[in-house]
């Protein structure tokens, strides 16, 4: 199973996601990337992230993404 950071790097290899605490404000992820990321996370972790949770604050950084995944039942 890939880690969250590995999935992020696959989507945007040019950015260092470990150096940012706010992927959205820093411009590391755009709205299309968010939908791509959700699909990749769903598939990788065998969950279905609800549409109501696809909001910027849940994708701010690695920690918020992992919190969201745990809430959806993912085993990290």
């Amino acid at each position: 199973m890939k880690s969250v950071v590995e999935i992020l790097r696959e989507i945007r290899p040019e950015f260092d996601f470990t150096a940012s605490s706010d992927f959205i404000a820093d411009g590391l992820l755009d709205s299309f990337d968010m939908v791509t990321l959700v699909a990749a996370l769903d598939k990788n972790y065998g969950v279905s992230i609800p549409g109501t949770d696809i909001v910027p604050e849940n994708f701010q950084n690695r920690q918020t993404i992992e919190t969201l995944l745990r809430k959806c039942g993912a085993q990290l």
Binding site: R12, E14, F15, D22, I24, A25, D26, G27, L28, D30, S31, F32, M34, V35, A39, D42, S48, P50, G51, T52, I54, V55, P56
Partner: protein, 271 residues
């Protein structure tokens, strides 16, 4: 069709489709601020269907059609049941890697949509910029708004390229997201961009016909890169048939990143 009153209406409609979806697909990727603006101006409405939901956004004399569907089959069937498909002027688009879009293209084409435009995304990764020698470019002023809109309307495709409405252009000017070059108080060229943190997108870059081949476009682009020294990723969408524009963007270090946007229109929009 129901007017959307809040972002929660959108999320709830999407969630109904996404829960248990076998191959969830969508063309709805709004940033939150835009979504809120569309709702505040009562531009969005929603039409649910079995296994899909359709969102309409008013634009000039037509509507953009967005969808969320459990899978391409649900999209095709849900769309076939849409009551407004045969009476409204509709434009829609599909974004993704070319190879992945065929089932969705087929679903739309079976419902009377035809291919109108193919946009290609170009990206430029952190390439150092040298200074230009052209005329001076500066931030657009409020009074430039009508001329900028006229230049955009005459240079780009209204169905496929998300042309700004006056309120959007005024906000962009106020937010210093538009550059211009002027000649004797006349608009010679403009560049409209959106920047978020370390990423920036050129929305529109155009030079008025009578000012072409005079370094105007180059001045705009150099100024754009100069004020974005901290940006790591530059992107833009360009008509894939427009070899001239693509060549110009290549000159500035842009290259295709593999993402395609197929724009389709329905039969209510004349060819």
């Amino acid at each position: 069709m129901t007017l959307i009153q809040s972002p929660a209406d959108v999320f709830a409609a999407v969630q109904k489709v996404k829960a248990g979806a076998s191959a969830f697909c969508t063309n709805f990727f709004p940033v939150e601020s835009k979504l809120q603006g569309w709702i505040a101006r009562q531009e969005l409405s929603v039409e649910p269907a079995a296994g899909a939901v359709f969102i309409f956004r008013n634009d000039r004399d037509f509507r953009h059609l967005y969808f969320c569907a459990a899978n391409p089959g649900a999209l095709e069937q849900g769309m076939a049941a849409l009551p407004d498909l045969k009476t409204m002027r509709l434009a829609t688009d599909l974004v993704g890697k070319d190879s992945t879009l065929d089932p969705l293209l087929a679903a739309l084409e079976k419902n009377g949509f035809r291919r109108h435009l193919r946009l290609q995304r170009l990206a430029r990764i952190d390439r150092p910029e040298t200074a230009g020698n052209g005329p001076a470019a500066g931030f657009a002023e409020k009074a430039d708004c009508p001329a900028i809109l006229e230049l955009i309307e005459s240079s780009f495709d209204r169905y496929g390229e998300q042309l700004p409405l006056p309120y959007e252009m005024e906000a962009a000017i106020a937010g210093r997201q538009a550059l211009t070059v002027k000649r004797d108080d006349e608009l010679a060229g403009m560049l409209f961009f959106e920047t978020q943190g370390k990423a920036s997108t050129v929305r529109f870059w155009a030079v008025a016909e009578k000012f072409r081949a005079r370094g105007v476009g180059s001045a705009l682009m150099h100024q754009y890169f100069q004020i974005h020294a901290a940006v790591k990723r530059f992107t833009l969408w360009v008509d894939a048939r427009n070899e001239n524009a693509i060549q110009k963007y290549r000159h500035y270090g842009y290259a295709p990143d593999g993402l395609i946007d197929h724009v389709l229109v329905n039969e209510m929009i004349p060819a």
